[in-house]
């Protein structure tokens, strides 16, 4: 609009415009068929029905960091009072503290402005997993700080409070993704919390395995991690199986960047488990296993975000799922 004619002064006026062209990163794919020809598939020019998740890299990174913190908080509480495992408990408390400090920072980075995270604590909305999660994250952060400062001397309330908060932080992200309109995430709503929780246990163990540990500590970490990894593997298998019903959802999960990341996550997880099962004991083995778990857990979270984007772009994924549900 020419400024000599009129001025736009409203709050929405200054917005930068998102362009729809494919070469501007927009959502409109290049057109290859004549639009007025009869289309066999019922859709609107194959244009996206849903909006893609707008989250940047820091959100899946937070999913990982939050998981490590959650697992650390839980393990720290379980290790409390075990004199020979004092050092491990301290590591765990440190992980819980770091995770719940770096986590909000990553989330705030996605929001763009520092002060914006505080708006999360403006209300408590039980219908929103993100609201419940933000409160648990903030609460766990405070308790984890207290636990870290008090160390071995921390009281039962701090200890169990941190552990409970940690359980919530580790798992709520799965509920958060399941509680969306995204066809891929929504269909997996019963598996995602399980996946995130077990992967959190595996992630915590993975980080701990990278640290210097004695024989006893190593055993604890290994057991905790193996349970997590087994759960993670089972969930990933179950997810792949459940996709079979709607081909478009499977295609969104398998194809593109998300598919590659998913395969990488699977490969890292399986190799990690195999390395763990080798009948030798060495710090090298432990560190390789820890590194593989860490890589796998990160790939997994980025895979979920990327394939969520592909699923949102594919209208037939939504249509078919809903039509199947209507019939069933």
């Amino acid at each position: 609009m020419s400024p000599t004619l009129a001025l736009q002064t409203g709050e929405g006026a200054a917005q930068r415009v998102k362009h729809a062209e494919p070469d501007a990163g927009g959502i409109v794919p290049l057109w290859r068929e004549v639009p007025s020809q009869p289309r066999p598939a019922q859709d609107y020019y194959r244009l996206a029905l849903l909006k893609e998740p707008v989250w940047i890299w820091s959100v899946p990174a937070y999913f990982y960091v939050g998981g490590v913190a959650g697992g650390g908080a839980v393990l720290a509480a379980a290790l409390h009072g075990k004199t020979r495992l004092r050092r491990l408990a301290a590591w765990c408390r440190l992980l819980a503290f770091l995770g719940t400090t770096v986590g909000p920072a990553l989330l705030t980075y996605d929001l763009g402005k520092m002060s914006r995270f505080l708006n999360m604590l403006r209300v408590l909305r039980p219908s929103s997993p993100m609201s419940l999660g933000s409160w648990s994250l903030a609460g766990t952060g405070m308790l984890a700080t207290l636990s870290l400062l008090q160390g071995d001397r921390s009281g039962a309330v701090t200890r169990y409070g941190t552990a409970l908060g940690g359980l919530m932080v580790a798992g709520y992200t799965g509920v958060l993704l399941g509680n969306t309109a995204n066809p891929l995430w929504r269909e997996r709503r019963l598996l995602l919390p399980l996946l995130f929780t077990s992967s959190a246990a595996a992630s915590t163990a993975g980080v701990l395995q990278l640290m210097p540990l004695d024989k006893r500590e190593e055993k604890v970490v290994q057991r905790f991690g193996m349970v997590g990894k087994a759960g993670e593997a089972a969930c990933m298998v179950a997810m792949q199986r459940s996709e079979g019903t709607v081909p478009e959802v499977a295609a969104a999960a398998r194809g593109g960047k998300g598919g590659v990341l998913w395969t990488a996550a699977k490969a890292a997880l399986v190799t990690g488990i195999l390395v763990e099962l080798l009948p030798v004991r060495s710090p090298v083995k432990r560190k390789v296993s820890g590194a593989l778990t860490t890589i796998g857990a990160n790939c997994l979270r980025f895979a979920l975000l990327e394939s969520g984007k592909s699923a949102a772009r594919e209208p037939q994924a939504t249509f078919n799922l809903q039509r199947t549900r209507m019939k069933g």
Binding site: T9, A13, Q15, R16, V17, K18, H19, A20, V28, P35, S36, Q42, D43, Y44, Y45, L47, L49, L50, K51, P53, A77, A78, L107, L111, R116, M120, R122, V123, R125, S128, P129, M130, S131, A163, L167, A170, G171, Y172, G174, V175, N179, T180, A181, N182, R186, R189, L194, F196, T197, K215, K219, V220, F224, V227, G228, P315, F319, Q322, R325, M326
Partner: protein
């Protein structure tokens, strides 16, 4: 609240595709133009609802006749002015962690721009793909059902500008009555494919009805509308249940690992 619920009834059978609603909305709400872009999808260069686009007219060139219509070749136009549905159970509202999205005294769904922190959760929770984050400062924007105009007793800009009254604004109860009458009239004239999308809870249990509902002439897919949308919160109880089980599992794993036999034996 004593103020009656208001909404839109969009009768797509009389829409002529003039896009006056799009323009009026942009003008009133001072939304920037989306730039020159040729999509090749019929006359629809707007493509979708966006943070900068709160009304979007869909153009469908269909290779089939409408019942009761005589054309030399099988052909009909389907046009629909799409908008935020102001759902009875709104996915965006129930997901918003900051409380930025509220239900107004008119029972519409409104995003308070000074409270939204740009978390982007509403974007993935809207089953219609309506709301989106602004490109510049990341806050979420969508149709306000002209909350400001309604406050001043005026009808929303799109409904005001619509030359064919395809968009009707009014009290929800009146609109429903009107929609039923219109549907009967069309059916009487032989346009049997006409139907009402999302008018009541019975039509759309997932959202418990829309405050901006539509009269359509084809399947919802043709207009890029979901056939059976549902607020994500319905059925999330199961996820919380599974999470609780998983949490118990993790706690047990931690305790067992910490008590591992080799660990404590002196």
């Amino acid at each position: 609240m004593t103020t009656p619920a208001t909404g839109f009834f969009t009768d797509t059978s009389v829409c002529i595709g003039c896009k006056a609603c799009e323009v009026a909305c942009k003008q009133w709400n001072q939304l920037p133009a989306d730039g020159d872009f040729f999509s090749g999808r019929s006359y629809d260069n707007t493509i979708h609802l966006e943070a900068t686009t709160w009304r979007h007219v869909a153009f469908i060139e269909r290779q089939a006749r409408l019942s009761g219509q005589a054309t030399s070749r099988p052909f009909s136009w389907l046009l629909m002015s799409d908008v935020c549905k102001h759902c009875e159970r709104a996915g965006c509202l129930e997901a918003c962690p900051t409380g930025a999205i509220v239900r107004t005294e008119f029972d519409t769904v409104y995003v308070q721009p000074d409270v939204c922190n740009g978390c982007g959760y509403c974007v993935v929770c809207c089953p219609f793909g309506v709301i989106n984050r602004r490109e510049d400062d990341g806050r979420a924007w969508k149709c306000t059902l002209c909350y400001d105009r309604q406050k001043a007793g005026m009808e929303p800009a799109c409904a005001k500008a619509c030359p064919t009254d395809s968009i009707t604004f009014g009290k929800l109860d009146d609109l429903k009555e009107m929609a039923r009458a219109r549907l009967q009239e069309l059916h009487r004239r032989g346009v049997t494919e006409a139907w009402l999308y999302g008018m009541s809870e019975r039509d759309q249990p997932g959202t418990e009805g829309l405050h901006a509902f539509f009269l359509l002439l084809d399947r919802p897919e043709a207009y890029n509308l979901p056939p059976d949308p549902s607020v994500p919160t319905k059925g999330v109880g199961g996820s919380w249940g599974v999470m609780a089980l998983a949490a118990a599992g993790m706690a047990a794993a931690a305790v067992v690992a910490a008590h591992s036999r080799g660990g404590e034996r002196k």
